[in-house]
Symmetry: D2
Subunit: 305 residues, 4 copies
């Protein structure tokens, strides 16, 4: 039986819930939110959908004790308005920090011993803080991190060549935030190394501009719809499925890095334990420096928590 919990059912949380229900992924789903009326309404709306779906999901709300045997817990609480004003995810810090302080003990108390997937912002810092405050292992707690920024890189690069974004390989690494970067040296387009391929095709790519478009991908979506939901929810659900099926699937996520002693977006292998192991990929010296810089940025901000 697949049992999921979601703490925070704003746009991201509830899109995850809808995805789990409409695709028949979840057998049981626990929704928790500070706004009880919202939890009741989302449960009703999802239950209205179920008479029209082929599958059934048991939905319960507001009960932390149900987390005891949850397999995957999504932490999605956020305060998007704070970030919107500034265009910087650290603006949500104060809110999410307080939120984690509130929920971590409750998670701990429930006896939860599954895997936590964190989508909150600033993702790397909050995920680390969550791991420390719940006492769950570093394997069990990870963040979506640059899995979404990598999807954005795939979208942006694919558009340059009119190819499918699923055929773009490579990574956006580092902070799920301003210090992130694309490791261009490893990006491929239909199996061709990007940089060479662009030259062959007579395309004069402005990598700085592309990187800005990727980095500001969330911001572009925010500006138009006031939040982001579909990209991030799809990423989170994919990671959850990898855990449940012990898929040993490699994806860039926010996980603990020993060298820099911080959570940071980097390739890792996802399985039943959450993070099975980190999978460091070859970087140029310049990319290594960017990774270090991003790690230090996260750390210094984290130290103020």
């Amino acid at each position: 039986m697949r049992k999921f919990g979601i703490i925070g059912i704003g746009h991201v949380g509830v899109t995850i819930a809808y995805t789990l229900v409409t695709k028949g992924i979840a057998d049981e789903l626990i929704l928790i939110d500070n706004n009880e009326g919202k939890a009741i309404a989302e449960q009703l709306d999802l239950e209205d959908a179920q008479a029209r779906l082929d599958t059934t999901t048991q939905i319960k709300i507001q009960d932390y004790s149900e987390l005891k045997d949850v397999d995957i817990l999504f932490l999605t609480a956020g305060k998007i308005d704070a970030a919107k004003e500034t265009g910087n995810r650290w603006a949500e810090f104060e809110f999410t920090n307080a939120m984690v302080k509130e929920v971590a003990p409750k998670i701990k108390k429930s006896g939860f011993d599954g895997v936590v997937i964190d989508t909150t912002n600033p993702c790397d810092a909050i995920t680390q803080y969550l791991q420390k405050s719940t006492g769950l292992s570093q394997q069990q707690v990870f963040g979506t991190g640059t899995f979404l920024d990598t999807a954005r890189m795939q979208r942006v690069v694919a558009k340059q060549f009119n190819v499918n974004s699923k055929n773009i390989a490579g990574y956006t690494l580092g902070e799920h935030g301003d210090s992130q970067f694309v490791a261009w040296s490893g990006v491929t387009v239909n199996s061709h190394p990007l940089v060479e391929f662009a030259k062959q095709q007579g395309k004069d790519l402005d990598y700085t501009a592309l990187e800005e478009e990727i980095r500001k991908g969330g911001w572009s979506v925010y500006q138009g719809k006031g939040y982001t939901s579909y990209g991030i929810a799809t990423c989170a659900v994919k990671l959850a499925e990898a855990v449940l099926s012990n898929a040993q699937l490699e994806c860039p996520v926010s996980c603990y890095d020993k060298e820099f002693d911080t959570y940071i977006g980097q390739p890792a292998v996802i399985g039943k334990n959450g993070i099975e192991y980190v999978n460091p990929v070859a970087l140029t010296d310049d990319e290594k420096a960017k990774f270090k810089n991003s790690a230090e940025t996260i750390k210094s901000k984290f130290s103020t928590m």
Copy 2:
């Protein structure tokens, strides 16, 4: 190739879009909204999701000429805030009326000749108005109507007996609004006629209260989350799939009734032409009177459009 259009990408429209994309139902999808920034943002967010999905959907925005060969067009534009203030879907009338006046000629001009599924409020009147103003046939234009209210009836009755809502048969009929009613005489629970079954089980059901819970189902969801999305979007997508596969699937929807010369929620068979035929079911005299009353309510309100 399955090609869908959505006019109005508020909460309902975009949930339909996400469902079509995340479940791989749509090959091509056209999004149109008065707020171009919103259309751009939703396209970006859905494209961010696609690098993580197994299927691909081509998404285009803001181009009415693309409707020419669209198979299914969802009309979902609404102004939920108007309805929220009053708890009555007719409060959206002025807005949606003006919206239809604006979009109908554009649909017509595009050469669109597929099926329109309307989810806007007041659903019956707007669907009828849309049919008339586009010149599309009465078969081609129908509304979700009481398909959603029937799902709510299934949810509410199922909960009384702790059974699955998919095992509740029967209909909510009439207006997708206050004059709707449940045809209790035909409702069954796990194949048992409800009224007898409740007695056998020693359950003293308050049908008036249940009906109020069903009728106010949307309102309950509105109050908690500010809109409804998952139930209605799931209903709309199910109807669209029935059209595409020529499923001859019987569902209660808002369609034209000859006797009362109005669109109204009643069972009909859905296939490649949209409404294949109306499927009138047995009603008690009391239920017939309620149906007539609901039809007259819709008509009288429609006459003011």
Copy 3:
């Protein structure tokens, strides 16, 4: 985590396996067959598929000890050739009887404590025998029974009226074999009682012929393809999903009947415990007699096991 086991990977078993893998339903899947080479080949073939699917299923073979924490165990071993010669499922009796004698102790020894769904023939007798010989509860062990024959009734009746088989309600009851019968009194077509509706439509239905077409549905498929697989596998998977999600879904299946002290096809509610409870539906006296006759047929054949 959803963990499934399948004992017997002939056409039915392996179609169940493929369905669980291709639709991403199973996280882990254990395949067991007397023919080890077949088990190895099916595992390879399913693993070849997985590089092209979005989801991952861990597949293991031939290890009874893995059944310990399996949620759903399908028993699908059969010897179709025996039945083919005679057109009677009891012809498989000797083979499946011996098979159950062989596998029941191994299931027991594994510590398995989930739900068994049996598709073998003669279904009712073998399911009962399996329940007794494993010591699992009557709730935990049930057969697909007339769930498939009911689907065939839906298909056959739907074709008479050119409607969707999903809109045909009612049941085929009794033995998954020659003594089965359709409870015509409860069959509905698009919510209309069948018998009246046919008259209204001026259709002079030959119920005996229809029932023969339904009863011989499996035989018709056998004759053309040498076995049946898609109908039965789809039924079995649907029941499994109902157990996993504790769906409280009502379906006709082969389960224990107290009055007649035998397993027999009748409506029951499916949930996390397997059979939650039997849901007897109204029958005419004639139908009651047929049910009794069918029960006695099963019992008398069972007594020879």
Copy 4:
């Protein structure tokens, strides 16, 4: 509306049919086989399944005129027994050659103008012959070719490192037959070039043995189950979905190569036209020689047709 045709409903064809039906991918499906009884039986079995599925697919059989507006036509007729005796796909040549001679004029006559996906053996030669004899364009006609052998390479390599086969990139190229080869220079494991990575991990891989395991992957499956079905059907369906959604998805398939004037397995981009363009990838000199050798093998065998 998505309309598919399948000519040849042996194990591969009918598994494709079941996949299209059970996943709700097809709105309409035409099954054609020399054995009419088999076609009738498969239609019945698939229709038995549909009362239990959420989606509907219209299934028709044995009518070539229905191919007129089919979007995707699968050619899957084969004579596996011939190949089994020898372990060589060319042994099916005589049968499939005769089959194509029979069906090509019928396809042509129907007015079919969609995309053909060929899974028959010997795949490259038969696909080319089919293209020539139908007069359809080289874009419209392609074969699954080494898309399946690439999946097998992914499976075999993944197992060496206990990683997910979806994280293995690279290609098996050339003939879907004995002269195929793995382009090891481009294979990556979790983004690491295979050859280096294996060394780093202290793994001494025997590439010749791995290649033999890949090449004989089909043979291994044949030996255990008497045919292959799940891997190949999943590959074929994935390609079909790429065509329908104009996905511009890069995959290795059997398509026309100008340099060698033959169909051969190589990376190409799949979209609404079928083969949008060939996407040649970097090869070592040794790999180039193997590709040339494989092309010549196909050509010389083709010349005997």
